[in-house]
């Protein structure tokens, strides 16, 4: 099989297919929900500014906040593990699982565990890992990957899910979402209540109390952090804010930007394991704080991207995301945030084409609740790619030639006039229908107007002569 290796190849598979079309409908719907939710919340713009300040403050004081957070977690009887990379995070979670005799693990939706491919690593050690977010559960059953950071199966139709459930769960085929939902509830309920370990991500961590905040709509986040005897939270190290009040600001903008809700159904704030006298809750609480490239991003000029609160708003408005589909981005994070964060975390060497997967229209910046200058960061990454010799193929020569003309007015004028004459040879009624070589990248999809026989500067000259 031919595995597509570039964005363009992956996008080619996505463009116009049924999954991408389903995804586009979903993205547009989420976008209009966000716009409506912002419009009926007068404090939205002010909250966004405050959320941005909070996130930037946190990044600038990340060392102090992480130190405080980890003191607080340990003070409440929890355990903190600092993981430099994916391997260290996985090794720690395996060790905990082994020491506490864990067999069955339930997970609530978490991008960061996808980033480190945690499921595969745990399954390789005979641990049963079950995704419990309905979307992620569908992804896991079908061996697929998420196409949206908030709505992982936006690319699947109800028929896709119906076929999958009837094949994998042995039920009679139905494509009624309510019935499919009931099937999943029933199937997952028993797994939840008998799981040994719950692994969650972390939307926000609160330094002053050592808490983690998880938002979900389904309730699987609360089950994951409450039913099993061990709870492990995996957090990207940047996910922190100083206080509960700061977290409130993030929460006020997060759900509105993600799904257009005022708050998600469950905002779950976990501080340590169950306490003496608590009737339920896990016996052990572990937090894995993950770097995995983040300190390198922080040290670079795209550090602002770490302010992201993973709401997905930038995906929903992005015309490239909507046409190409989330899988085109080739990694856990898709859309504009993916185009910035994947090369930042994983390096341009392998991901240098992602920063070019944008028309720089700026819709993402408008939508982003924390006003991350995504187009500006894409431009920086493009500059870095070029300086590392990783610019788009064949562009450099053409640009050097163009620059030579554009910095030499005499040559420029000569070239524009020559362009006009030669176009006469191939143009019909002022339009060119087909160009050879690289020019076909234009004419394969649209006609090209012929360069003018007499450029503007020549007309200006004439006019001056006449007057």
């Amino acid at each position: 099989m031919n595995v597509p290796v570039t964005f363009v190849e992956r996008a080619h598979r996505g463009i116009g297919n049924r999954s991408t079309a389903a995804g586009e409908v979903g993205a547009r719907r989420m976008m209009s929900h966000r716009i409506a939710a912002s419009a009926d919340y007068p404090a939205m713009e002010e909250m966004r500014d405050q959320a941005r300040r909070i996130r930037l403050y946190a990044l600038g004081h990340l060392d102090e906040l992480l130190a405080r957070f980890s003191d607080e977690v340990e003070g409440a009887g929890g355990h903190v593990h600092f993981a430099a990379d994916a391997d260290e995070a996985i090794a720690y979670i395996r060790k905990v699982a082994e020491e506490t005799n864990v067999r069955r693990i339930v997970k609530s939706k978490s991008m960061v565990t996808e980033e480190i491919h945690l499921n595969a690593a745990l399954e390789a050690h005979d641990l049963e890992v079950v995704e419990t977010d309905l979307g992620e559960f569908i992804i896991q059953l079908s061996g697929d990957t998420p196409s949206h950071i908030i709505a992982p199966v936006m690319h699947k139709t109800r028929q896709d899910v119906g076929e999958l459930f009837s094949e994998k769960l042995g039920i009679e085929y139905t494509d009624d979402p309510t019935e499919l939902n009931n099937v999943a509830r029933h199937h997952l309920r028993e797994i939840f209540l008998s799981a040994d370990m719950g692994i969650s991500g972390c939307n926000v961590a609160i330094a002053e109390s050592g808490s983690i905040v998880l938002v979900t709509n389904e309730g699987n986040g609360r089950l994951t952090t409450s039913a099993p005897r061990i709870h492990v939270a995996v957090m990207g190290m940047e996910r922190i804010v100083p206080t509960l009040s700061d977290a409130a600001v993030i929460l006020e903008v997060l759900a509105r930007s993600a799904t257009g809700q005022r708050l998600s159904v469950y905002t779950n704030i976990v501080t340590g394991a169950r306490r003496p006298g608590d009737p339920d809750g896990p016996e052990e609480f572990h937090v894995v704080i993950l770097d995995n490239g983040r300190s390198r991003v922080l040290a670079g000029d795209a550090a602002e991207v770490l302010a992201c609160i993973r709401c997905g708003a930038c995906l929903n408005v992005c015309p490239v995301y909507r046409e190409a589909g989330g899988h085109a981005y080739g990694f856990t994070y898709s859309g504009p945030i993916g185009a910035v964060i994947t090369p930042s975390l994983m390096g341009l060497a392998e991901w240098h084409d992602l920063p070019y997967a944008s028309s720089l229209c700026g819709a993402c910046l408008d939508a982003c609740p924390v006003r991350i200058d995504l187009p500006g960061l894409l431009l920086k990454l493009r500059r870095d790619a070029v300086s590392e010799g990783l610019g788009p193929d064949g562009l450099e020569g053409a640009l050097k030639w163009f620059t030579r003309l554009a910095t030499n007015p005499g040559m420029w004028r000569g070239a524009t006039r020559a362009g006009g004459w030669s176009a006469k040879l191939i143009a019909r009624q002022g339009w060119i229908k087909s160009l050879p070589g690289r020019g076909s990248a234009w004419t394969d999809y649209r006609d090209l107007p012929a360069p003018a026989a007499k450029p503007f500067h020549a007309r200006w000259k004439e006019r001056q002569r006449e007057s």
């Binding site: 015309p319 819709a363 870095d384 620059t403 234009w442 999809y445 006609d447 360069p451 003018a452 450029p455």
Partner: protein, 245 residues
């Protein structure tokens, strides 16, 4: 009589000189003295947007040197080139480089054509007429999002005699041009374009108007493969038509 410098952009110079002439006609009709710094070429945006800063810097420097010695507002019939000259060109030079200061001086004088008419000259009715046509306006992204250009051209169109302006559905979504994106990722670019063109057709307009010839060139080229019913024009061409007396 305000004196203005016309920076016509590389695309207008070589592909759409009639747009440049229309700009001159409209400006002169409204009392401006138009000068054209003859050695101008390209602002450097094409190279800047794909990360080739050395090339972008060279072109920006040339542009700045050509314009810095002149006086009056620098009128640019393109939102994205104006955005480049205002928001990016200065950044290409170290703060202690004398070109940096010149770039900043130039940046302060640059104004996109339609917003110059409305914001600076206070013209909302350019005195044009365009009988029996229905137009829709596409707000090109850089001008719209980075320079806030939308209301000005729409107002100008609303006041063209005989012209009905209809809203473009989903107007604020990109047309897919994106500079070299249009040829680096042409399939995607065309796919986004096709959504835009469907909306243009749905608007019911027979005339598509914009302030950026780059996006318009892409859309016009795409439209020719779908239907010949819809004409594409830069706003200056609409405003230059048949002055009412």
């Amino acid at each position: 009589m305000p004196k203005v410098q016309l920076f016509v952009t590389c695309l207008v110079d070589s592909f759409f000189p009639e747009v440049g002439e229309a700009v001159v006609a409209v400006l002169e009709r409204h009392g401006c003295t138009v000068e054209f710094p003859f050695d101008q070429t390209c602002c450097g945006q094409p190279a800047f947007n794909v990360g080739y800063h050395d090339q972008a810097r060279a072109m920006a420097e040339h542009t700045i040197k050509v314009l810095d010695g002149t006086d009056g507002t620098i009128v640019v019939p393109s939102g994205s080139c104006a955005d480049m000259m205002i928001n990016h060109s200065p950044e290409l030079f170290q703060p202690d480089d004398p070109i940096h200061a010149a770039a900043a001086r130039v940046a302060r004088r640059v104004k996109e054509f339609s917003s110059f008419l409305v914001d600076d000259l206070g013209i909302t009715d350019a005195g044009a007429s365009c009988e029996g046509r229905t137009a829709t306006y596409h707000p090109s992204c850089h001008g719209f999002r980075n320079l806030g250009i939308r209301q000005q051209p729409e107002t100008l169109l609303d006041n063209v005699a005989g012209l009905e302006r209809v809203e473009l559905p989903d107007a604020e979504t990109c047309c897919g041009f994106g500079g070299l994106f249009s040829v680096e990722m042409p399939e995607l670019s065309a796919s986004i374009m096709s959504t835009k063109l469907t909306n243009v057709e749905a608007s019911g307009a027979d005339l598509l108007v914009g302030v950026d010839v780059s996006c318009l060139m892409h859309l016009a080229g795409g439209l020719r493969r779908r239907s010949r019913e819809i004409e594409v024009k830069h706003i200056a061409e609409v405003l230059a038509e048949e002055t009412r007396t």
